[in-house]
Symmetry: C2
Subunit: 368 residues, 2 copies
């Protein structure tokens, strides 16, 4: 997009001020703000052992050093603290500036997800859930919380969902994409069961701490490759959900793919349909075409959106996935943030634009 | 496709008898036929230690047991022996029956690729190369050979390419997709250098013995998932070639993706272009958009071809990849064999059909 087009798109968007629900905002809890929500035992543990994520970070921090905290350079609060940690600044820079109507918070770390010590993982997740309410969504009702769960322990995760789901500020259950086993496996089913019981979608954000190498040829050389692998690991994840029969068991389960892109989804559906037609006796619990299950159970989010040379190709991808299945996400305050004024292709009809910006999220998360 | 359409497509194709070059035929060398091409030392080794592939088969034979040798049930030679092992039967059942003009042989195992012992790997690969000529392409000039290389040892692979490439019956260098490191890494560059020196394309067939888990969440439960992962591992492979700068170093290198499908390729190009635009300073050796490099350096093959509900989507995928980049492949004698009479969408123009059936392979492999 050249600068003139960007300018006019921005001006048009600013005039119209579309309703925007942002489905991927990353707040950051300073450890000191989490401590009041941790038992003394875990505060001591934190001091002695620190945060020890499963394997994933053993090879170093997963973001480029040149963008500390993976953040936009202008997202550091002027008064100090980490990007995403200061509510007033987030409000001014993001919520007010773009007229965000509602934002779904997806805290990444420290959140206990993927922690080596399972009890500490559960304690940190629980603390993060309380922090989101106390420090963010209570003072700022536009912000909604995700229920962080210690996902490698299915029963502890189920208990945490039951503990939180009554409170309407929690709008989804939150997982990461790189787990110890593929997410369709039975060890994770208590999470899906509890989510369905409470009518909550399950958001799955890329990244995580599986302990497995990034690809089946090991670790790649470049960060660019890691960014690419989010799409391939998401393909494995969608495949696992379908082939393990999760949707046969939980027909009301709704999955939101966060920050994984989505242009790969139609090709995956075509491939799975073809293979399934020939080998379906291996998975008798999969009684419908995989592409149907994808379109019924998966939502996708816009950041980062693939950019075909021919914008019609993106329209066709969206058409295949379903215009009611695409959610706007900014990824604020991260460096690869998408500006709501510029994120969507100009050729979208007003109706589809509104659905992606707000209508689809409103329906999915049951915002009044 | 319903039965009537299939019938009429088959009749039409049989009437017209298009020229067909089949770029993926799997011959099978009985171990006893390989022995004359092995030094006594390695014959003894074979008796004592057997074939010990790197890790990949440790978890069991990678094909369903119900299709032994992964073969069509009717591909077992009536006189005995394994599918692909009897030239007369292959000739009758495949080459003559379909009027195959030329076929490229891609021997999978036993071929030494991925063997634990590097010298034995090189010896077996070399024996397989001699077997292809002696037992297949000399008695049957329609069959062309691939140069099997012990790819985990770049210099030994280079030496094997130099040893064979003068002989015109060898038409490509042959690798598998699951290697110890990503195929763009420098340890494999001697292979590409030798291939370019001799003007040979490098065919990369899915499967292999990397020793790494299939996905970054470990091993999947189902064979269907393994079939799907061929597409994701191919995405990682294409990404690695581009980001490691292989094409900047070897601008004449041509890569053929065998049995990986290809509908995922445009979405990968879009994703890589977007990421590369933002992070290109990480890979200064990548001086062109990844999608351009994909379309310049990669060929794809038709088996297995994704099957969109809307056949126009497949046309668009092919258009993006390039009509001169798509090669017909049957995968004979494997169970997921594609019948040349039925493999291509009926809506293709005669010109494009001819290109995919034969013209593109003729140009790539420089068949007279």
């Amino acid at each position: 997009m050249n600068i003139e087009v960007r300018q006019s798109a921005r001006e048009r968007a600013q005039r119209v001020k579309p309703a925007v629900i942002d489905c991927d905002i990353h707040p950051k809890a300073p450890l000191d703000e989490l401590r009041p929500f941790l038992a003394k035992r875990w505060c001591d543990y934190l001091d002695t052992y620190g945060v020890r994520s499963r394997h994933g970070f053993a090879k170093g921090y997963p973001y480029p050093k040149g963008t500390p905290q993976a953040a936009r350079r202008d997202a550091w609060p002027p008064g100090g603290g980490l990007p995403g940690s200061n509510l007033d600044f987030m409000r001014a820079q993001h919520l007010d500036h773009y007229g965000i109507e509602l934002g779904v918070m997806n805290p990444l770390s420290p959140s206990g997800q993927g922690e080596q010590n399972p009890e500490f993982s559960a304690a940190l997740a629980s603390a993060m859930n309380e922090w989101q309410i106390a420090h963010m969504s209570r003072p700022e009702p536009r912000l909604k919380a995700s229920i962080i769960v210690p996902y490698e322990d299915g029963e502890a995760a189920r208990a945490e969902i039951h503990r939180r789901a009554g409170e309407r500020d929690y709008v989804q259950v939150f997982l990461l994409s790189r787990t110890a086993e593929a997410l369709g496996r039975r060890r994770y089913w208590p999470i899906y069961e509890a989510a369905v019981e409470h009518g909550l979608p399950v958001g799955i954000h890329v990244f995580g701490y599986s302990g497995w190498a990034m690809t089946n040829t090991g670790w790649p050389s470049f960060y660019i490759e890691e960014m690419t692998e989010h799409a391939t690991s998401s393909q494995a994840l969608v495949t696992s959900f379908i082939m393990e029969g999760v949707f046969a068991r939980y027909p009301d389960l709704k999955i939101v793919l966060l920050e994984s892109g989505f242009a790969w989804l139609p090709a995956l559906g075509w491939r799975l349909d073809r293979i399934w037609k020939r080998l379906k006796d291996e998975v008798p619990h999969v009684d419908r075409a995989p592409s149907e299950l994808i379109r019924e159970h998966f939502w996708v989010s816009t950041q980062p959106m693939e950019e075909p040379e021919d914008p019609d190709h993106l329209m066709e991808v969206m058409e295949w996935i379903g215009w009611d299945r695409i959610l706007f996400a900014s990824d604020y305050p991260h460096w690869d943030f998408d500006d709501p004024f510029l994120a969507l292709p100009p050729s979208l009809s007003a109706e589809r634009r509104d659905a992606i910006f707000a209508g689809n999220a409103r329906a999915l998360y049951r915002f009044a």
